[in-house]
C-alpha cells in the first residue's frame, strides 16, 4: 500500500481542478437557482480564447489570462441578457434545456471558428513536479490545485465582505426582498454569469494545459455534477472540498475497483456517489436544507 499516499495526493490535486469547474456551477446556482449544463462549453471557449491570445498576439501568459477573464466576463453578460432573461419565471426544466441548447450552440460555434484539431498550450507553467517527499504532484495538477484555492478564497471574500457579494446572497435568498431593498437583480444575474464564465475559463486553461485543447474537452462538466451535489449546490467551500473528495475517491476506485471490473470505474464512480448522496442527504455537505421531501 505504499502507493496510497501518492494516490491520495494526486486525487487531491485532480480534485482541485474539479473544484474549480464546480465553482462555475455553484456561482450561477447561488444567485439564480439555475444549473448551467453548458459549463463545460464555457471552459472550452475560455481555453480557446486564451490560446488565441497566447499564439496570435504573442502575449505573455498572465496578460493572456487576464484578457481571457475579461472576455469571459462579457460572454457571461451577453448570454445572460440574450438567453436567460426571457426565461425568468419559466419552469426549471425549460431553463435546464436552454443551457443544454446553449452548450450545443457554443460547441458548434467553436467548431466553426476554430477548426477541430487538437491544440496544446505552449508551456505556461514550469513543468517540474512538486516533490513532497512521500508523494509527487505533477505540475499541471499542481497549478490546477493552486488556481482552485485562489479562486475559492477570492470568491469567498467577495461573497462575504463586498457589497456585490452580499447583494448576490440577498438575491439568492429572496428576490422580492432584494428588489425592494434597491438591489438591481438584473445586474446581479449578469454578474453571477460573468463570475461563472470567468471560473470556467480558468478551469479550461488548467485542463487545456494538462490534456490538450479540443472542442470536446467540455465533457468533464457532467462529472462535476457529482461534486456539486456532494458539496451542496450553493456552497463555494462545498464545491472545492467536494472536488477533493471526489478526486480522491476516483483514484482510490481506480486502484481498487478497476481490477475487479476490468477498468473504467473511475468515470462512473462519481455518478454512483451522486445517487447515494441524493438518497441520503440531497443538500450535500454544506448546502442549505431546502429540499422538499415526499
Amino acid at each position: 500500500m505504499d502507493i496510497l499516499p501518492q494516490v491520495i495526493v494526486s486525487g487531491l490535486a485532480a480534485g482541485g481542478v474539479y473544484g474549480l469547474i464546480a465553482l462555475g456551477f455553484v456561482l450561477i446556482y447561488k444567485a439564480t437557482s439555475i444549473i448551467n449544463l453548458a459549463t463545460g462549453q464555457f471552459m472550452t471557449v475560455g481555453a480557446f480564447v486564451c490560446l488565441t491570445f497566447l499564439t496570435y498576439l504573442a502575449a505573455p501568459f498572465w496578460v493572456a489570462l487576464a484578457a481571457t477573464l475579461v472576455f469571459a466576463f462579457f460572454l457571461g453578460v451577453v448570454i445572460e441578457r440574450v438567453m436567460l432573461r426571457p426565461l425568468i419565471g419559466e419552469p426549471i426544466i425549460s431553463v435546464i434545456m436552454v443551457t443544454i441548447g446553449l452548450g450545443s450552440i457554443l460547441n458548434g460555434l467553436t467548431h466553426m471558428i476554430f477548426s477541430p484539431e487538437y491544440r496544446s498550450f505552449p508551456e505556461i507553467f514550469p513543468p517540474d513536479p512538486l516533490d513532497l517527499g512521500f508523494a509527487i504532484v505533477p505540475s499541471g495538477l499542481l497549478w490546477g490545485f493552486i488556481f482552485a484555492i485562489v479562486c475559492m478564497i477570492v470568491f469567498l471574500l467577495i461573497f462575504k465582505y463586498s457589497r456585490t457579494g452580499v447583494a448576490m446572497r440577498a438575491t439568492a435568498s429572496d428576490q422580492q426582498a432584494a428588489l425592494s431593498m434597491g438591489i438591481s437583480v438584473r445586474k446581479i444575474f449578469a454578474l453571477s454569469w460573468s463570475f461563472a464564465a470567468i471560473t470556467a475559463a480558468v478551469g479550461g486553461v488548467v485542463i487545456g494545459n494538462i490534456s490538450g485543447i479540443s472542442i470536446y474537452m467540455g465533457g468533464i462538466g457532467l462529472k462535476v455534477l457529482a461534486v456539486i451535489i456532494l458539496g451542496g449546490l450553493d456552497s463555494i467551500i462545498g464545491a472545492i472540498i467536494g472536488g477533493f473528495i471526489i478526486g480522491v475517491l476516483e483514484n482510490l476506485s481506480g486502484v481498487f475497483l478497476d481490477p475487479v471490473f476490468g477498468g473504467g470505474t473511475k468515470e462512473v464512480i462519481p455518478f454512483f456517489i451522486l445517487v447515494i448522496i441524493i438518497m441520503i442527504r440531497p443538500y450535500g455537505m454544506f448546502g442549505k436544507e431546502e429540499i422538499e421531501r415526499v
Binding site: 444549473i35 438567453m83 426571457p86 426565461l87 419559466e90 426549471i92 426544466i93 425549460s94 435546464i96 434545456m97 436552454v98 443544454i100 441548447g101 446553449l102 452548450g103 450545443s104 450552440i105 457554443l106 460547441n107 458548434g108 460555434l109 467548431h111 466553426m112 477548426s115 457532467l222 455534477l225 457529482a226 451535489i229 449546490l233 471490473f261 476490468g262 473504467g264 470505474t265 468515470e267 462512473v268 455518478f271 454512483f272 451522486l274 445517487v275 441524493i278 438518497m279 440531497p282 429540499i291 422538499e292 421531501r293 415526499v294
Partner: protein, 347 residues
Amino acid sequence: MRCGDYKESYLKDEEIFQTVFVKFWLALFFIFLLILPFFANTYILYVANLVGFAVIAAVGLNLLTGFTGQISLGHAAFAGVGGYTLAILMTKAEFSFWLALPCAGLVAAAAGLIIGIPSLRVKGLYLCIATLAAQFIFEFIFIHWESMTQGVRGINVPSPQVGSFLFNTEARFYYLTLGFVVLTVAYVRNLVRTKTGRAFIAIRDRDLAAEIMGINLFKYKLTSFAISSFFAGIAGALWVSFMRIVTPEHFPFHLSIQYLAMVIVGGLGTVLGSIFGAIFMTLVPEILNVTTSAMSDVIPQLEHLFIPLKEVVFGCLIVGFLIFEPHGLAEIWRRIKAFFILWPFSY
C-alpha cells in the same frame, strides 16, 4: 369555438376525436401512412421508421415529464435496457421477437422503477441530476457486464419473423413500427383520461394538494416512471431489432437530450405535442444534412462551415422554442387550427 358542436354528456366531452371532421381527416392521414412505402425510397422509409421509434419514446417520456412533472435526463438508458434485453433474450434464450419485445418493455419498466425511487426523496433539479447519473451508470453496465452484453463488441440480432416471413426491409419493418406507434399513442392518450392520468396531472400541478386529496404519491410516481420506461424499452427494442445490432454506443447521453428536446419542443403535457416533437426533432437534423450537402455542392469552400452549423441550429431551435414558444409545436398547431376553424372570420 367550433360552430354546431354541442356536447350533451360528459362522455361526449371526453371523447378524443370530437367531430366528424377530425375523424375524417385522421382516417385520410392514416391511409396515407399505410400506402407510404409504395412510393417512397428506402432512405425515406428508414427515416420514417426512426420517427416511429422516436414517437414511442417521446410519448413515454412526456407521460413522465409532461404529465407527472418528473424530469428525467436518462431516458436513453431505459431504451438501452429494452434494446439489450431484446438482444439477449433473442440470442441467448432463443426467444422469438414477439415474446422478447414485451419482456424488453417489462425489464425496462423494472429499471424505471429502480431509478424512480429517488423521486420519492427529491424533486425537480435533484431528481433531474439523479436521472442523469442513472444514464451514465447504465452505460457503464452495458460496457462492463460482458457476460450478458458482450461489452463493446455488441450483439447481432436476427430480424423479427412470422413463420418464414422476415421483417428485414425498411418497408416491412415500417408496418411493424406503425402498428406499435398506433398502440402506444392510443394507450397513452386513453391513460390520460383515466383516474391514473388525472392523478399524474395532479402530482405535476401541486403534489402536496394531491397527497392531501388522497392520491398515493409513492404509488403513482413509481407507476409513471415504470410506464414511461416501458415505452422507452419498447422503442429501444424496436430500434435494435431494426438495426439488427446493439452496442453500448447506441444509447449515449446525447440521445436522452434528444428525447427531452422532442418533448419540450413538441409541447409538454400533450400527446400530440410529443408526436410533433418526435417528428420535428428527427426530421430537422436530416433536413439540415440534406441542405448542407446541397449547399456545399454550390459553394464548396463553405462546406466545412456548414456542417458544424448543424449543432448551432439544433441549439438555437431548442433555445428559440423555449423562449418564444414555451408550449411548443402543439400550441402552434392549436393556433393554426383555431385560425382555420373561424376562417375567414378569424379575428
